[in-house]
């Protein structure tokens, strides 16, 4: 125990690392939901048999997403996107720059989850809404999104947890945060205390996110 408080690395670098990790997760979560949600809605609505079928666009978009999420390992995608991060944020270092590649890595993932959530909305509800004279936007807002809200919150929770993991990887290529701390001190300097503290902190972070997400999701669910 004494070890933890007397460890100079922890005392000096830990607070900063925590803030950086939270920054990365926070910023990229925000953009992932901001862009991934409409993208997921579009994927669902434009699918064949959907509310507004656009088979060709849907096909192309689906393929792009599959390739980003399935084919390219995140570690490689992240490195490859460094020029883009520099173009957008003016730097390739730090949590803000890392958030660019984190977001691009998780947007397709989240969009897919959103699409699945919307697909689970019973078709009868959409028929009912259309028969009562809803516009397409009203169907999307008042039925699809509202009815799948508990599932959407759960999907967002999964995505944020994934982002915590990705942010550790991002730490290795200049993002900073707990990942960098664990790598620099725990791995390269064999500082076991730093390693353990980092692990515990990440576990706690994930647990808190999971717990909050589940609470919200359950509170919204009236099924």
């Amino acid at each position: 125990m004494n070890d933890i408080f007397s460890n100079p690395v922890l005392a000096k670098a830990l607070p900063e690392a925590i803030i950086e990790t939270l920054q990365m997760v926070g910023i990229s979560s925000f953009f992932t939901v901001l862009i991934g949600l409409p993208l997921g809605v579009f994927l669902h609505v434009s699918a064949p048999g959907g509310l507004r079928p656009m088979p060709v666009t849907n096909r192309i978009l689906s393929d792009v997403i599959v390739n980003i999420t399935r084919s390219i390992p995140f570690a490689i995608l992240m490195v490859a996107l460094i020029p883009l991060a520099r173009a957008l944020t003016g730097t390739s270092l730090g949590p803000v720059a890392a958030s660019v590649s984190l977001s691009i890595g998780t947007i397709p993932f989240f969009a897919r989850l959103v699409e699945n959530c919307l697909r689970d909305v019973h078709h009868g509800k959409i028929d009912a809404a259309q028969v009562m004279g809803s516009t397409k936007m009203q169907v999307i807002n008042k039925v699809m999104l509202r009815e799948s809200l508990p599932a959407l919150v759960a999907a967002a929770t999964t995505t944020v947890v994934t982002l915590v993991g990705y942010s550790a990887m991002a730490g290795l290529v200049g993002g900073g945060g707990l990942g960098k701390l664990a790598y620099n001190y725990g791995f390269q300097r064999f500082d076991v205390t730093v390693m353990l503290v980092t692990i515990v902190l990440i576990i706690v972070l994930v647990q808190v996110i999971q717990l909050v997400g589940e609470r919200i999701s359950r509170g919204l669910d009236h099924r």
Binding site: Q130, V131, M132, S134, E147, H222
Partner: protein, 358 residues
């Protein structure tokens, strides 16, 4: 009043064309309930989707009180739909909305002021007998209560036509009767035109004034309930007044001609059988019978066996003289596969698998 004229719907399935509706024509006067009965695969679902414009018909027309629906532009389709209230088999309520929220849904779509919505919702919930359930979520309601919310929601936009797609197929018999009574009551009170699509003959028996039999995308029989029930040759009559299978005949019985007799209206009250027995001095044996009140009239469907020496033609003439439909039974050995209380018997519909519509 809803009028459907020569409605056709052809689906393209790859290179093959599937004719789902093959010229459906029907009309339902205001304030009455019309039943459309048929098995899955008969085209019921397609008909519903065409009437609500969820699918555009290939040709033909649908009109409500003279206003044509099937040719309206896409932009007018929503206004057209609001003239039709629809009740679904599984109610299709929004799980995230309370009973009141569900009923308010159609009103919100046209930006009805909040206080107006509140009074209208309270009014509608009272109408369907759900006072005090405003804040209950669908998951807290029983199947029958959910269907009542569905009906209130369907009525929210003051429609002229209420379209019910298998409204009771997911409910137990007691709840089915309650819901049907409610629909009947609302039809009279609000002067609605009601179309009930179903595969359950009991629904037709209980509330419909007229009925159409849909088979393979065509209406093969239709008419007022009392007319189709009085026609011994109609498939609907056989489904409305089912007789148990005649096969095998109890072995101990005498051999003799078998007749099918259908009494209706006034003749159902007269002691015709004993009249025949006395007039021809023969014995008559009742093999099977079914008696129902349909559309406010008494109907009886009997299968009887006459003594071997009976003059069948003379008996038939005697019965016909008294306005009773009668004919020699097709064949005593031919099975009449009907069980009382069951859904529409398979034999009534040329083909198509048995089972509910979903």
């Amino acid at each position: 009043m809803i009028t459907v004229t020569d409605l056709r719907k052809v689906y393209q399935q790859g290179k093959k064309e599937v004719v789902a509706l093959d010229g459906v024509t029907l009309s339902v006067p205001k304030g009455s309930i019309h039943g459309i009965i048929g098995h899955s695969g008969a085209g019921k679902s397609t008909l519903v989707r065409c009437l609500t414009l969820l699918d555009r018909p290939t040709s033909g027309s649908v009109s409500i009180d003279g206003t044509e629906l099937s040719s309206v532009k896409d932009s007018e389709i929503r206004a057209a739909r609001r003239r039709i209230g629809m009740v679904f088999q599984h109610a299709n309520l929004m799980d995230s909305r309370t009973a009141a929220g569900n009923v308010a849904h159609p009103l919100e779509l046209v930006k009805t002021p909040k206080d107006k919505i509140r009074t209208r919702v309270a009014e509608l919930l009272k109408l369907v007998g759900l006072e005090g359930f405003e804040n209950a979520y669908p998951s807290q309601l029983s199947g029958g209560q959910r269907q009542r919310v569905g009906i209130a929601r369907a009525l929210a936009s003051d429609p002229d036509v209420l379209l019910c797609d298998e409204p009771t197929s997911a409910l137990d018999p007691a709840t089915t009767d309650e819901i049907l009574d409610l629909i009947q009551d609302l039809t009279k009170r609000l002067q609605l035109t009601v179309l009930i699509i179903t595969h359950e003959m009991n629904v037709v028996k209980r509330v419909c004034e007229s009925v159409s039999l849909l088979s393979r995308g065509r209406i093969v029989e239709h008419g007022a309930l009392r007319d189709v029930a009085a026609d011994l040759d109609s498939k609907l009559a056989r489904a409305l007044l089912p007789l148990p299978s005649s096969e095998p005949l109890p072995g101990a019985l005498q051999r003799g001609p078998v007749l099918e007799i259908l009494f209706s209206g006034a003749s159902a009250k007269e002691p015709v059988l004993t009249g025949v027995a006395r007039h021809f001095d023969i014995d008559i044996n009742v093999l099977a019978g079914s008696v129902e009140t349909l559309g406010g009239e008494q109907f009886g469907h009997l299968r009887v066996q006459l003594a071997e020496n009976a003059d069948v033609d003379a008996v038939l003439a005697y019965l016909h003289e008294r306005g009773i439909a009668a004919k020699p039974a097709a064949s005593a050995a031919a099975p009449v596969p009907v069980a009382a209380g069951s859904p529409l018997p398979a034999s009534v519909l040329a083909s198509g698998e048995q089972g509910g519509n979903s």
